[in-house]
């Protein structure tokens, strides 16, 4: 490059002829510092479908190749979790477990499904069955999510006979996973209320190896790590359940933080004037009626995802108290009034998240 050759010859000559080389070095330093800044960190985004819904993943990084590789890795991790937890593939781990319902021999499952099932059973126990991973027969009866229709009460009672987390047993631990069994024929596990949150957390682990700052959003199950490139918090809006073009509030979250919303407005069928949605009470077999949307904020997305279901179903007062009394959780509860207006109730810590400054407070600030 002739231009570079000229400069490389001219600069030393000029420096040699200068009476103030210090000044020249200072100017050179400033110019090179300004002209060749380090690559700026920015947000890289990938959007697609995963876990049967829309997936959007963002990562903050300076290098596009590293960022895109991390995004691809996160989507691959989601696909891996989906593959073992889906009931739509007869070869998946959970389908193999369902296929052996009632058989005396327990079914070996890998460490990931083992972890998902253990979390599901634990939450079922803690919530007195308001969450139940064996709700598969009920969901199948109602046809959610693909082709919902309102079944008659007798059919619902019949399906309820095959629902019961107490009959899902972890028979033994293995070196790499465990052996589980469904005690009765006709029982089936549906991990729609839990696997997505686990997948989000696992995708977050992939991203965290490359950058501490990221956001994973799988159909509203959201995990944030760190902050945005300008050090501001990630902003997460909660959907208005009756006007999809509006939000009820926007929270500002610094990672690690996660939230998940369960609502009655995406999967439903109208039964006269009644909205029959997919959040089925495992005890009654009918959709929960107390809320139209419940958002749970937790340190990780698996808990946010799985806990938003029982919070939706356990009744107004109990649900809010239950979330309020857990120091790791916050919640936003939306009720539709008789006049179709919405009432928003929130736990005490949500106000702080709404008012978190967009930028970090200066050092020494109160």
């Amino acid at each position: 490059m002739p231009g570079l050759r000229v400069v490389s010859r001219a600069v030393p000559r000029l420096l040699a002829a200068s009476r103030s080389p210090l000044l020249c070095f200072a100017i050179l330093f400033v110019v090179f510092a300004c002209a060749r800044p380090p690559a700026a960190r920015r947000i890289f985004t990938k959007t697609g479908f995963s876990m049967g819904t829309v997936a959007e993943i963002k990562i903050v990084h300076a290098d596009s190749a590293a960022a895109n590789a991390a995004l691809d890795g996160a989507f691959a991790e989601l696909a891996r979790i989906e593959a073992l937890a889906t009931i739509h593939d007869p070869a998946s781990e959970v389908s193999r477990l369902n296929a052996k319902a009632g058989a005396p021999e327990p079914v070996p499952v890998g460490p990931d499904l083992d972890a998902i099932l253990r979390l599901g059973v634990r939450v079922a126990r803690e919530t007195g069955g308001a969450f139940d991973p064996t709700v598969g027969p009920l969901l199948r009866l109602w046809g959610f999510p693909e082709d919902p229709a309102v079944p008659d009460s007798a059919a619902i009672l019949g399906a309820l006979a095959f629902v019961g987390w107490e009959r899902l047993e972890r028979v033994s631990a293995e070196a790499d996973g465990a052996r589980w069994r469904l005690r009765d024929p006709g029982m089936s596990i549906d991990l729609g209320g839990i696997a997505c949150g686990v997948g989000v957390d696992r995708a977050g682990e992939v991203l965290r190896r490359v950058s501490p700052d990221f956001l994973v959003n799988i159909g509203g199950d959201i995990l944030v790590g760190g902050v945005k490139p300008d050090s501001s918090a990630w902003s997460v809006a909660i959907q208005d359940p009756r006007d999809l073009s509006r939000f009820v509030m926007t929270l500002r979250l610094r990672g690690p933080a996660a939230l998940s919303t369960s609502g009655d407005y995406e999967h439903f069928v109208m039964n006269g004037n009644v909205r029959e949605h997919h959040l089925l009470d495992p005890k009654t077999g009918w959709p929960g009626r107390d809320f139209c949307s419940v958002t749970v904020i937790a340190p990780d997305c698996a808990r946010a995802d799985v806990l938003s279901k029982p919070a939706f179903l356990m009744g107004k007062e109990r649900a809010i108290d239950w979330v309020e009394n857990d120091p790791d959780l916050e919640g936003v509860f939306i009720v539709e009034n008789a006049d179709a207006s919405l009432a928003v109730r929130e736990t005490s810590g949500v106000a702080e998240l709404k008012h978190l400054p967009a930028s970090p407070a200066p050092a020494g600030a109160p």
């Binding site: 000029l14 050179l28 002209a35 809006a237 999809l244 939230l259």
Partner: protein, 136 residues
């Protein structure tokens, strides 16, 4: 710091022609570098239409148009008008995608999950103030 360099006149006397030439050269270079870093003017926004895992079409937001694509459940129509894009007709059960309305900000997404169709705005109006994610 050399006291002789604290005033412009002293600085002028303390430097040779070569110093001044070097400064002029470096300033001109840094100015050119700064101009070179300026982003080119933003192109017109566009909507990228993805079905399944593949991007199958791009529609310019400033051109009034409608295109019908084949989703998993059947036809679904994407329209552009006045710098924005919307799903204007769909075969999905609840038409949540249609209810999402018109989008014009960079990064905004309209998704029809049953049809596995996704419309993403690129190069449109900056998304200043828009949330980074929506919990739904």
């Amino acid at each position: 710091m050399n006291e002789a360099l604290t005033s412009p006149g002293a600085l002028w006397r303390a430097t040779t022609f070569a110093d001044r030439a070097l400064c002029a050269f470096l300033l001109a270079g840094s100015l050119a570098a700064a101009l070179g870093f300026r982003a080119p003017s933003a192109p017109a926004g566009r909507a990228v239409v993805v079905v399944g895992r593949a991007a199958i079409a791009e529609m310019q937001l400033d051109v009034d148009a409608s295109q019908t694509f084949t989703g998993r459940l059947g036809p679904i129509t994407v329209s552009t008008r006045g710098g924005a894009v919307a799903v204007t007709a769909s075969t999905c059960p609840h038409r949540v995608c249609v209810a999402m309305g018109w989008k014009h900000r960079t990064g905004e997404v309209i998704a029809c999950v049953p049809n596995e169709l996704l419309v993403r705005v690129e190069g449109g109006v900056p998304s200043d103030g828009a949330p980074d994610a929506i919990a739904r």
